[in-house]
């Protein structure tokens, strides 16, 4: 990559929003890029909506806060409503089509819906829905390779959750496959 990518991730507490963002930040560090992860840590994290911001760059990262994101990843309807206008021209909105049933439109960004809950359910664990989303996100943006993500998943799960590594890797693959099946490609225009 040769620029700065600002990513906003939002959803209900418990949907794996923070982990989604941290996987990106750990992957960026692994690939020797600069990165910054910032959670919403207010009372809303104790139930209700949760969101985090991630910046990935091959340059020095200045402001940790930003208004418009390059990429918006939303796991539920309230998050879409809250953040869909805060997107850059040529950006990407990736949403959870299992929970957001209305048509999503944007005159600024490419919009892609993935039924991550249904795909995760078919894999046998609703818990990995966020990893299905991550797979779809990585397929669209080309940010990190499977080799990087696999290593980060192993590190993240540690010994205690080593048995969860395989299904997380499957979920990433399923998310990537879904994007290829839809046949959508994303090229940032600005």
């Amino acid at each position: 990559m040769n620029s700065t990518c600002r990513i906003r991730v939002a959803g209900f507490g418990g949907q794996g929003v923070m982990m989604f963002g941290q996987m990106l930040a750990y992957s960026a560090t692994h690939d020797e890029l600069n990165t910054l992860w910032f959670p919403s840590y207010g009372p809303e994290t104790r139930g209700g909506t949760a969101n985090c911001s991630v910046i990935v760059s091959n340059q020095t990262i200045n402001s940790p806060v930003f208004k418009a994101a390059d990429h918006l990843v939303v796991f539920n309807m309230p998050s879409l409503t809250k953040f869909q206008e805060q997107i850059e021209q040529g950006g990407l909105i990736l949403y959870n089509a299992s929970l957001i049933k209305t048509a999503v439109k944007s005159d600024k960004a490419l919009v892609v819906g993935i039924p991550i809950n249904d795909i995760a359910h078919d894999l046998g664990s609703l818990q990995v829905a966020n990893m299905v989303m991550l797979g779809a996100y990585l397929e669209l943006t080309g940010l990190f390779t499977d080799a990087t993500i696999t290593e980060i998943i192993k590190k993240f799960m540690g010994e205690r959750k080593a048995h969860m590594v395989e299904i997380n890797i499957q979920a990433i693959a399923a998310g990537r496959k879904q994007i290829r099946d839809i046949g959508v490609t994303y090229v940032k225009t600005s």
């Binding site: 960026a28 890029l33 600069n34 990165t35 910054l36 959670p39 840590y41 200045n62 940790p64 208004k67």
Partner: protein, 355 residues
């Protein structure tokens, strides 16, 4: 070793260990809880001291005791908790005891909120404790800089026998960045801790740690010694960074997270053809007044920006000494401005002029 991804609070704890911490005393408060959480695991496992005290007041007095015994000692808290420690901080300065205090600022006044703020600049630089004292106060802008300063902080405190305060906002505490823990630290020649109360088996005669001087002449002489020390700190430890200052039509002054937001705003302003520079104090006490002498004479104005109602603004006005127009833009209560707001404040400079 390459860079690793760490949360600010945890990085502060790791850097304290690298800096040689012997003991930590504190009381929980958001948004700095990961500091004591991390230290509670690692200090006890390595034969060092960790106490979660019954209150902030107890914790700062434990700091006083351990510092008096010669230990490298630390406490951390957030705004209302630092308020409770003020009496002990004044005593540490009076008794000339080294310690490291980390203040992770949240919105106030009162219990306020838990979102990032810079409204404790007065608390850090003017203090809430009694008497003519100063803390050596750092206001780093990134997790990396916070780590570098934390690794050095115990040695600075030991060199001057004075508490060092590392002042960060909740954002620095809560975010994660990729950092290098192994950057070199300046070597310092430290005086022996010949004041430490380690028991008469270790030193002939009694050592007394005290800040009480009932004879006013004796107390004035003690104060003169302290003032000489503070003058030395000013001469030797003042730190700041300037960015594109020489040619700047507008100069922005910011510290901590605000300085990073200003850097992004400066990129936009340059694209608009506006020549803008920055003064970034790294120590906020001593304040880098000399940096303001580098501003060109026909500069159109100085914008001070903070996550507060304008506290560092006082020091900007003192340093500017009536030379240029000064404006202020700030947000309060845990609101963090985005770079666009700073761009707008420079474009509409005259709307924000205070003096």
């Amino acid at each position: 070793m390459g860079r690793i991804l760490m949360k600010g609070n945890e990085a502060i704890a790791v850097a304290a260990i690298r800096g040689g911490i012997d003991a930590f005393f504190g009381y929980p408060i958001t948004p700095q809880n990961e500091i004591p959480e991390y230290l509670s695991k690692h200090l006890l496992a390595n034969g060092k001291a960790f106490v979660q005290a019954e209150s902030e007041v107890a914790a700062i007095n434990m700091v006083y005791g351990a510092a008096g015994a010669g230990a490298r000692v630390m406490t951390s808290s957030s705004s209302p908790g630092i308020a409770l420690k003020q009496e002990g901080i004044s005593y540490l300065c009076g008794a000339q005891l080294p310690a490291v205090i980390v203040s992770v600022m949240r919105g106030g006044p009162g219990l306020g909120g838990i979102q990032p703020s810079q409204a404790d600049y007065y608390q850090a630089t003017r203090g809430g404790g009694n008497g003519d004292y100063n803390l050596i106060v750092f206001g780093p802008e990134t997790i990396q800089e916070t780590v570098d300063i934390m690794k050095e902080a115990f040695a600075i405190a030991d060199q001057y026998r004075n508490p060092v305060l590392v002042l960060v906002d909740g954002l620095i505490g809560q975010m994660m960045e990729s950092i290098d823990l192994d950057r070199p630290v300046k070597e310092r020649n430290l005086p022996p801790k010949d004041y430490a109360t380690t028991g008469t088996r270790n030193h002939p005669g009694r050592h007394i740690i005290n800040s009480l001087y009932l004879d006013p002449l004796e107390l004035e002489n003690h104060n003169k010694k302290l003032q000489q020390k503070y003058a030395l700190v000013k001469a030797q430890e003042t730190r700041y960074e300037t960015v594109d200052l020489e040619d700047a039509d507008y100069v922005i002054v910011a510290y901590g997270t605000m300085a990073r937001i200003v850097r992004s705003a400066m990129e936009t302003l340059k694209k608009l053809g506006i020549k803008v520079g920055m003064i970034r104090p790294i120590t906020i006490w001593p304040y880098p007044e000399a940096a303001f002498d580098l501003i060109k004479a026909d500069c159109k104005g100085i914008l001070c920006t903070e996550m507060s109602a304008g506290q560092m603004l006082d020091d900007v006005l003192i340093a500017n000494n009536g030379r240029h127009k000064v404006a202020f833009y700030g947000r309060m209560g845990g609101m963090v401005p985005d770079p666009e707001e700073i761009v707008a404040a420079i474009k509409n400079f005259s709307d924000w002029v205070v003096k």
